[in-house]
Every structure is written in structure tokens, then in C-alpha cells.
């Protein structure tokens, strides 16, 4: 899919000899307006690609930080239509924007309807942490029909055969989870990630993003040495969760993104 905004982004970051910085924030956290402001702040400070999280009641891939934020977004009344709207506002900043979502909300909303509305809002695709290509027939059709990228995950436990199959089904980029575990900050970057990326390179030339556990510029720099994108989530959410008031949350977010953005230069 040469026309995709995500593909264009990776062409640019490759030319600039750096990794892309991918930032995750849940939609509607801490409120709809503030989540839009937080996304705009992230992009201004250097995030290249935005992952808008769709808050879900049973987020099995997420650690306590993201779950706490998702719970607050749901308590604040965040609906699927809001998430798509927020993704549209994010895309309006110029940064390609995907929604990261567990599968059931998409299935319930209607796979084709979800894809059509996201595409109309300017969204670039979906990251689906609990949807593997084996089950994705309907999503493959809908994403193709509406020109959306489909970002699937791979893990250190994936067999070579599954890496090849998943890479083949994916578009935009492939999300390599750096550790066997859930989202959350970690002290050290994973020793499993370089090997996983090396195994992927043997079966695909699609861009590879590495996530789970990256929380500062130094770690981002380590990952940028072997990945096409560095994905950061919990550390960004933490800035907003820990802040005494919205302005200091946005300030903390801006400082962290500035540090991360310096890190992804090679």
C-alpha cells in the first residue's frame, strides 16, 4: 500500500536516518478535550505517529497504568464515536493516526462500519492486540476496502512460521512486543527485542516498531539502533496520571516527548 500515510512516514524517517517515534494515549483520558490537547502536545513535541487507545473493560494486554487510564476514560463516558472523532482530531495535526483496540468493540460496532468511519475521519489504520491474522478475515476485507493499514503484533514466542505469516498479513508496520508481558514501564530495555527484530528482518522488509517498556530517551536510543519505530505508551500515560493539574501534566508530557524524540535520532 504505497499511498498510506504510515508508509510515507517511514520513507521520511529512513531518509532522515532515525527511527519514528510512536506515542500512545487512551482516548477520553482524562477527558475528551484534554486527551485531544495531550495528543496535540505530543505531536508538537515530536511524536511522529499517534496511537489512540480505545478504552475497553477487559484489557488483558495492559498493565495497571493503562488500565487505570482506560477505566477513567470509560467512567468519563467515552464512546466509540468519541474515539473515532479524537482519532480524526489527531490526524488533523498531520501525524498519521491509528486506533489501538481490543477486538470486541470493533466487532460489536460492525467491522466495516468502524473501518469506514475511521477512514472518513482521516485515521490510518488499527493496531489489534488480541486479533491475530488467523481470525482476521473480515478485518482484512474491511481494511482493504477502506484503505486502512492493519498493524498486527508479534512476540518473542512467535515461531518463524508465524512471524512470516503475520508480517505478510500486516501493513503499515509490524508491532514487535519486546518482552513476554503486558504494557508498562521497565527499568531496562529487553534483551529479547533485538533478536526478535532480526528474525523478522529475515522474513519481511516492512517497517518494524518495537514497544513495551520504553520510557526514556536513553532507552529509545537503544531501540532506535535496530528498529524502525520506537513505541511508547505507559510512560506517557503516567505523565497525565501523576500530574496534580492538567497544565503540569501537559508540561511533563512535552518534556518526556522531547527527550524521547532526541533519543530516536541515530
Amino acid at each position: 500500500m504505497s499511498g498510506s500515510p504510515i508508509t510515507a512516514l517511514f520513507d521520511r524517517t529512513r531518509a532522515e536516518n532515525r527511527a519514528a517515534l510512536v506515542g500512545y494515549l487512551p482516548a477520553g483520558f482524562p477527558s475528551k478535550e484534554l486527551s485531544i490537547a495531550a495528543i496535540e502536545t505530543m505531536v508538537e513535541a515530536g511524536v511522529d505517529l499517534v496511537e489512540v487507545g480505545l478504552p475497553y473493560s477487559d484489557p488483558v494486554m495492559d498493565g495497571p497504568t493503562i488500565q487505570a487510564a482506560a477505566d477513567r476514560a470509560l467512567e468519563a463516558g467515552t464512546r466509540i464515536a468519541d474515539v473515532i472523532e479524537i482519532a480524526g482530531r489527531s490526524a488533523a495535526t498531520g501525524a498519521p493516526t491509528v486506533i489501538m483496540t481490543y477486538w470486541n468493540p470493533v466487532e460489536r460496532y460492525g467491522v466495516d462500519r468502524f473501518a469506514a468511519e475511521l477512514a472518513a475521519a482521516g485515521g490510518a489504520g488499527l493496531i489489534t492486540p488480541d486479533m491475530i491474522p488467523d481470525e482476521a478475515e473480515e478485518w482484512m476485507a474491511a481494511s482493504t476496502a477502506h484503505g486502512l493499514d492493519r498493524v498486527f503484533l508479534v512476540a518473542p514466542s512467535s515461531s518463524d512460521e508465524r512471524l512470516a505469516m503475520t508480517a505478510d498479513a500486516a501493513s503499515g508496520f509490524i508491532y514487535a512486543t519486546a518482552v513476554m508481558g503486558v504494557t508498562g514501564q521497565r527499568e531496562q530495555t529487553s534483551s529479547l527485542a533485538p533478536e526478535l527484530v532480526a528474525r523478522l528482518r529475515k522474513v519481511t522488509d516492512k517497517p518494524v516498531g518495537v514497544g513495551l517498556g520504553v520510557s526514556n530517551g536513553a532507552q529509545a536510543h537503544e531501540v532506535a539502533a535496530f528498529a524502525d519505530a520506537v513505541i511508547v505508551g505507559s510512560a506517557l500515560v503516567r505523565c497525565l496520571l501523576d500530574a496534580p493539574d492538567p497544565d503540569s501534566g501537559l508540561d511533563a508530557l512535552r518534556r518526556l516527548v522531547t527527550d524521547l524524540r532526541a533519543g530516536v535520532e541515530r
Binding site: 477487559d58 495497571p64 464512546r79 466509540i80 470486541n104 491475530i132
Partner: protein, 408 residues
């Protein structure tokens, strides 16, 4: 007799499958293959049979409940799973999976539990087979089932109260999955019901199907024919699929699953997933679930902690869709009336879960009349429910603080 479902990828028609993080696909494949090999290995099946017989008190008897039958107005046969070790059908599943964990070489098991029955059974099997055991239990449930928390700890298990989400069974499953993704090298997830991602629904069915296979032979021996209906309560669906599987090929035997109707399906406060829910994906499989318009899981409600789950195993969704089995609700009040009736007519205190099956049988008896023979799976005994039932019937004064050992 081998069942035609699921297919190789774990689908029962459009239900089932694997909606799981990729990180867990390799361990699920490992279990699928190990389970396949174990089933074909006479040494494994002989060992499992021996353990069930010597340790778990299986096969359980089939009992003709004469006085209950008289009150019901039809001939009622009870499959006495309440007499198994640990007091429920759950022991069949956990011994099988714990033995499989040993075979794969995993020294540790994790489990989720709602009422604590699956947790107690898991802790028991792990003590028996020398495995480390961690049980995840929603904080709300650790409070309402304090006695079972003590039981699990006595058996050497670690009990982790889960404080996320609604702090009940579904959140305990989430937390167990989070543990598993980080510990798969050493840990087997001893899943407690016939739900979840492939191969759990099929594997748990094969481990519990002794219920129906035994009951079928016992019924033929006792009555000279098959029952008109086989009835079981449905939470996640393990005892029901264990009963139904033995009769699926007998087209004349009606299969009736009884779901927890709570305050009544029309009130929205229930756990009747098939009757009152819709198709979606939860905990790794496509099936019925209780969800809102956006696909967010809704909280379930039932007087029975073991049925208080917003999902159901995919094979039940399939049996409902094909019409081979029917699913109906019994309210809290109907279940408790049946509970009381069994206590007073037979001197058997049933689990409140199983009382839902009895309530379903009472309704069915009215419909079928006095010539009918109805087989009911008495999935568990009610010792764990004495406190809840005593409160319900106003037999004790409030409050009784079980977890602090003091009563007033």
C-alpha cells in the same frame, strides 16, 4: 465417539477460535499438541483414570431422587458430582490439566476462581501432584467466599485478590492471563471452565465428559432406557458440556442448559448469557456475552458466584445456534426454592449453581408430565453456600463475620 467439532483451529461453527495476544499463541499450540499426544498415550489415560478413581471418587453414582421426584411430578435422576473429592465436578478438569502440566514439565499452575470452587480444586490437584499454585480471585469474591480463600491457603496455594475492573471473576481471568503471558516458560494456565481460547473449550469438555458418559450407562442400567431430558446449570459451561457430550448423538434426549436468571432477565440483572446476551468476543473466543452497545463487557448478577460470569463457552453457543441444546434462565428465587426442596425432600444440600439445574428440571417436569425421566447433573454440594443460603432464608442473624472467626 469423536465429536465433529471443533475444527482444527478450534472453531465450533462461527464460535470459538483464538482471540488472544500473539505472545500466547505458542503456549496454546504447545498445550494443544501435548493434549493430543497425551490422549493418545495409554500410559497417560490409565494414570488419569486411576487418579480419578482412587483420589477423586469418580465415577460418581446416579441416584434416583424418589421424594424430590414426587414433589416434581416426574422421575428425577441425579448425577451425584457433589460426592466427588472437593465437592464438585471441577476436580475432573483440574486433575487432568495438572497431570498434563506435569507431562509438559511446568512446575507451576495458575488459576482464576469466582466462588472459589475451581480455586480449591486447583489447589487440591497441585498439592496432590506437587505443583506450585497461584489463584487469582476478584476482591469482591475473596470477601464473599472467605472460607474458600482459607481452604486454598491451607492447601498451600497463594491467593491473589484482584482489585482491577469489577473485581470479580472476569477480572480474575484478565489478571491470570497477564501473569501467564509473563510466565509461560514455567507456568500452565489451569483454566476452570469450557470457555477461553482453543484448546481449552475442547480439552475441558473431554476432561468433564465422563459425567455424561457415566450417566448414560448408569441410566440405561437403572431404567432400561435413555432419559427424556438431560439438565445442567451453565456458568462457563464445563459441567453442562460434560453432561451433554454423552448424549449429543441421542437425538431423542433433550439437552437443557439452565442459566442464572438473577433478578429476572428482563431486569438486566442476570448472568443468562445465551438467553439475554449477544454474540461477541471475550477471553479468547467468539461466543455469547453480556455487553453494551460499544462491546464493553457488562457486569453479571447472580446469587450463585459460580454462575456469575458474563461469558459462556463457545460450544454452548454452537449447540444453541444449531438447536441441539436449549438454554433457559432460572431466577435466584426459583433456584433457591429448588435448593430448599432438595434439602427437605432428600437430605442433600446442593450447590446454589446446581440448584439452578434443579429449578430447570422442576419447570421441565411440569411441561413433560409424570411419565418423563429427567437426568439432572448435581454439579456440586452446598457446604460452601451455607452462609449465603442461611442469609437468604433468614436462618441466621446478621452479621456473621467468617473471615475473622468471630460471630455475633
Amino acid at each position: 465417539m469423536t465429536s465433529p467439532v471443533p475444527d482444527a483451529s478450534g472453531h465450533f461453527g462461527r464460535f470459538g477460535g483464538r482471540f488472544m495476544p500473539e505472545a500466547l499463541i505458542a503456549p496454546l499450540d504447545e498445550i494443544t499438541q501435548a493434549w493430543q499426544e497425551a490422549q493418545d498415550d495409554p500410559a497417560f489415560t490409565a494414570e488419569l483414570d486411576r487418579m480419578l478413581r482412587e483420589y477423586a471418587n469418580v465415577p460418581s453414582p446416579l441416584y434416583e431422587a424418589h421424594r424430590f421426584s414426587e414433589a416434581a411430578g416426574a422421575r428425577i435422576l441425579l448425577k451425584r458430582e457433589d460426592l466427588n473429592h472437593t465437592g464438585a465436578h471441577k476436580i475432573r478438569n483440574v486433575i487432568g490439566q495438572a497431570l498434563l502440566a506435569k507431562r509438559i514439565g511446568k512446575p507451576r499452575c495458575i488459576a482464576e476462581t469466582g466462588a472459589g470452587q475451581h480455586g480449591v480444586a486447583s489447589a487440591t490437584a497441585c498439592a496432590y501432584l506437587d505443583l506450585e499454585c497461584t489463584v487469582y480471585m476478584g476482591e469482591v469474591d475473596t470477601e464473599r467466599q472467605a472460607l474458600n480463600v482459607a481452604r486454598m491457603r491451607m492447601l498451600g496455594a497463594e491467593v491473589v485478590p484482584v482489585t482491577t475492573g469489577s473485581r470479580t471473576l472476569k477480572d480474575a481471568i484478565n489478571e491470570a492471563l497477564r501473569d501467564w503471558v509473563a510466565s509461560v516458560d514455567t507456568t500452565h494456565y489451569l483454566f476452570g471452565t469450557a470457555a477461553g481460547p482453543h484448546p481449552f473449550p475442547a480439552m475441558v469438555r473431554e476432561l468433564t465428559r465422563g459425567i455424561g458418559d457415566e450417566a448414560r450407562a448408569q441410566c440405561l442400567e437403572l431404567t432400561g432406557r435413555l432419559p427424556d431430558a438431560a439438565v445442567a446449570c451453565v456458568g462457563g459451561g464445563s459441567n453442562a458440556i460434560g453432561l451433554f457430550t454423552g448424549f449429543v448423538a441421542d437425538a431423542d434426549v433433550r439437552l437443557v442448559g439452565v442459566e442464572a436468571g438473577g433478578d429476572g432477565v428482563e431486569t438486566g440483572r442476570h448472568a443468562a448469557t445465551i438467553t439475554g446476551g449477544s454474540v461477541g468476543v471475550l477471553h479468547g473466543a467468539r461466543s455469547y456475552l453480556l455487553q453494551d452497545e460499544d462491546g464493553q463487557t457488562l457486569e453479571s448478577h447472580s446469587i450463585s458466584a459460580g454462575l456469575d460470569y458474563p461469558g459462556v463457552g463457545p460450544e454452548h453457543a454452537y449447540l444453541a445456534q444449531t438447536g441441539r441444546a436449549e438454554y433457559r434462565p432460572a431466577t435466584d428465587a426459583q433456584a433457591m426454592a429448588a435448593f430448599e426442596l432438595l434439602c427437605k425432600t432428600e437430605g442433600i444440600i446442593p450447590a446454589i449453581e446446581s440448584a439452578h439445574a434443579l429449578a430447570g428440571a422442576l419447570t421441565l417436569a411440569e411441561e413433560l408430565g409424570p411419565d418423563a425421566t429427567i437426568l439432572v447433573n448435581l454439579s456440586g454440594r452446598g457446604d460452601k453456600d451455607v452462609h449465603t443460603a442461611a442469609q437468604y432464608f433468614g436462618l441466621i442473624e446478621e452479621p456473621v463475620v467468617l473471615d475473622e472467626g468471630t460471630e455475633e
